[in-house]
Symmetry: C2
DNA sequence: GTAGATGCAAAGTATTTGCGACAAG
DNA sequence: CTTGTCGCAAATACTTTGCATCTAC
């Protein structure tokens, strides 16, 4: 039973204001990886008085609380997505900007092995694939 | 017989000004991954009149010419390194900021396989490992 | 000689912050 | 009630750009 973003806020002791609820809802429902501007646009439709500063403050807060993940893909602004238990990496279509999420256990294992080889414990990683659709 | 950065400029038809020669030299000799500020500092010691704008223009030009690689590691400014034939990825020490370069052919192959699985041709990728040194 | 490069300062982006008003717990 | 949040606008950090001058080829 996975928690909603609002539930995670309560668990982590993050105060739930109206603005944060709006952002929580948008990110919960998002099927994509919106950037701050897009998030601000969507939030403004619900609460036209919300400030972009609040959006920035909230995504940062949520990121630090482990609720959202921030991605700085090449050639675009910072994008956010809800942080779910099962980790995944991203394949980015450089023509369309479409983002495909994938998981590859073998790559994960090899990454640990590489870190190990150099005497490191792997704390985090970033794997992004950039590609173009093959003609079918 | 690998070319120097200056030679690459000539090959690629990039005009060699004094400022560009300075930046080429610094990057050729760099054992690290300097950011623009650091590059500007090192360049200023050779030519105190060089402008930061020129440094920005030059790294961008070199990047587009395939002479330098730009890296946006998490939590730090854009860093540059000379682009060498043999590709490598990076392992970043999150305590010290030290950067270790590594190559893992198996991971490379698996990346291609993943892209392929989703119907993509892999054009580029980014793999960064973030770790802490193990106690020995 | 001429197209392109430089230095400077001003303008852009993306993001953060100080502050008085306001709201959640 | 009191601590923390919000909206606003100003500030910051990094990067780009317009323009007059200068330089590599």
């Amino acid at each position: 039973m996975s928690q909603t973003i609002e539930q995670k806020c309560i668990t982590k002791g993050v105060k739930l204001t109206d603005q944060r609820k709006i952002i929580a809802k948008i990110m919960s429902e998002a099927q994509d990886h919106p950037d701050v501007d897009e998030l601000y646009n969507r939030a403004s439709k619900i609460d036209p008085k919300i400030s972009i500063a609040t959006v920035y403050r909230t995504v940062k807060l949520f990121e630090e609380a482990g609720i959202l993940a921030k991605h700085d893909f090449k050639g675009s602004k910072a994008r956010y997505e809800e942080l779910i238990e099962d980790h995944h990496d991203h394949l980015i279509d450089i023509k369309t900007g479409e983002i495909i999420e994938f998981v590859d256990e073998d790559i994960e294992k090899l990454q640990k092995k590489v870190a190990d080889k150099y005497g490191y414990n792997l704390v985090d990683h970033r794997l992004e694939l950039y590609g173009v659709k093959k003609k079918s």
